[in-house]
């Protein structure tokens, strides 16, 4: 597992370093746009997987309410830390109530 972790870390680091080594003129707008779209698609997928699935099954539970609370706070421009805390608190609270 340590080897897998190190390989994955090097893979991620390669992107970080690449940006400092590539001359800027090689980066086209369409490539920039593609990167933004990849990020959006991946983040949306992570929200969905982390929030709505458990062990390979779709599951709607307290996390859905936590995401709703987070979305409302984000729309109100609440600070990031508050959004994360409120998400955790909403889920923990609902579970404490047995929901």
């Amino acid at each position: 597992m340590i080897t897998t972790v190190i390989l994955a870390s090097l893979a991620v680091y390669s992107w970080k370093l690449l940006g400092y080594l590539v001359p800027q003129r090689f980066i086209t707008d369409s490539f920039r746009g593609f990167s933004e779209r990849v990020t959006v698609a991946l983040l949306a997928a992570l929200v969905a997987i982390q929030g709505l699935t458990t062990d390979g099954e779709i599951e709607f539970d307290a996390r859905l309410a936590a995401l709703a609370v987070a979305a409302v706070l984000l729309a109100l421009r609440a600070p990031y830390i508050l959004v994360v805390i409120a998400g955790a608190a909403a889920a923990a609270g609902l579970r404490m109530l047995g929901l």
């Binding site: 597992m1 340590i2 897998t4 972790v5 190190i6 994955a8 870390s9 893979a11 991620v12 992107w15 970080k16 370093l17 690449l18 940006g19 400092y20 080594l21 800027q24 980066i27 593609f34 990167s35 933004e36 990849v38 990020t39 959006v40 698609a41 991946l42 983040l43 949306a44 997928a45 992570l46 929200v47 969905a48 997987i49 982390q50 929030g51 709505l52 699935t53 062990d55 390979g56 099954e57 779709i58 307290a62 996390r63 936590a66 995401l67 987070a70 979305a71 984000l74 600070p79 990031y80 830390i81 959004v83 994360v84 998400g87 955790a88 909403a90 889920a91 923990a92 609270g93 579970r95």
Partner: protein, 214 residues
């Protein structure tokens, strides 16, 4: 001005620290030992990639799937680096350190500053603050994870989902169709595909050109 940048950097560091506790706890809950969880925070040092990695591991996915999910998730750091090259202008070995600190938060705080001196300060202060808080928090989460019972009881799984939503939020307005499609594909294919693959599949939809997408 300087003070303001430093206080923003520290508050961003604290916020990431909180979500770092989630990462540490979720990491050990996914079956990893404390050491690999710590190595992920120290070496990979890119939250979304780390969550993608442990998500695949937790669900019993293959190592190559875990590596490629983390790798794909890290593409955007390359674009932050492109922007930061002109702001920081690192030379020689300093590039290696600058690259490691190139993440969502350091780039975002830097980009939010007007003057170039403050942009530079924003990058370094946030990068260092997040590195310190993220790694200490991961250690706390990983050690406490075994003691404090389930990740669910404390809502830490929901905290991670909320944190991703927070990162996605500023980008969602321009790309909401893509976000819905990515999330929908990931959810719909989760019951049928090996862990991690739904996330990669969501990345493929980014190839589809959208009307109005930038």
């Amino acid at each position: 001005m300087r003070k303001q940048v430093l206080s923003t950097s520290i508050s961003v560091g604290l916020a990431t620290g909180l979500y770092g506790v989630s990462f540490g706890a979720i990491g050990v809950a996914s079956g990893l030992d404390v050491l690999p969880v710590m190595l992920l925070s120290l070496l990979m040092f890119s939250g979304a990639s780390q969550f993608a990695f442990v998500g695949v591991v937790a669900a019993g996915g293959a190592p190559i799937t875990a590596i490629s999910s983390a790798w794909l998730m890290g593409i955007r750091n390359s674009f932050y680096a492109l922007r930061l090259t002109s702001v920081i202008g690192p030379r020689g070995l300093l590039r290696l350190l600058t690259a490691q600190l190139t993440i969502d938060e350091s780039n975002a705080v830097s980009a939010a500053q007007g003057e170039s001196r403050m942009q530079k300060l924003g990058f370094w202060a946030t990068g260092v603050a997040v590195f310190i808080f993220w790694n200490s928090a991961t250690l706390i989460g990983a050690l406490a994870g075994n003691l404090m019972g389930s990740v669910e009881q404390w809502g830490l799984d929901a905290a991670a989902a909320a944190a991703f939503l927070g990162l996605l939020w500023p980008r969602i307005r321009q790309n909401w169709q893509l976000a819905l499609l990515g999330a929908g594909i990931a959810i719909a294919t989760t019951p049928f595909l090996p862990a991690g693959v739904p996330i990669l599949l969501a990345a493929v939809v980014a190839l589809v050109p959208f009307r109005g997408a930038k």
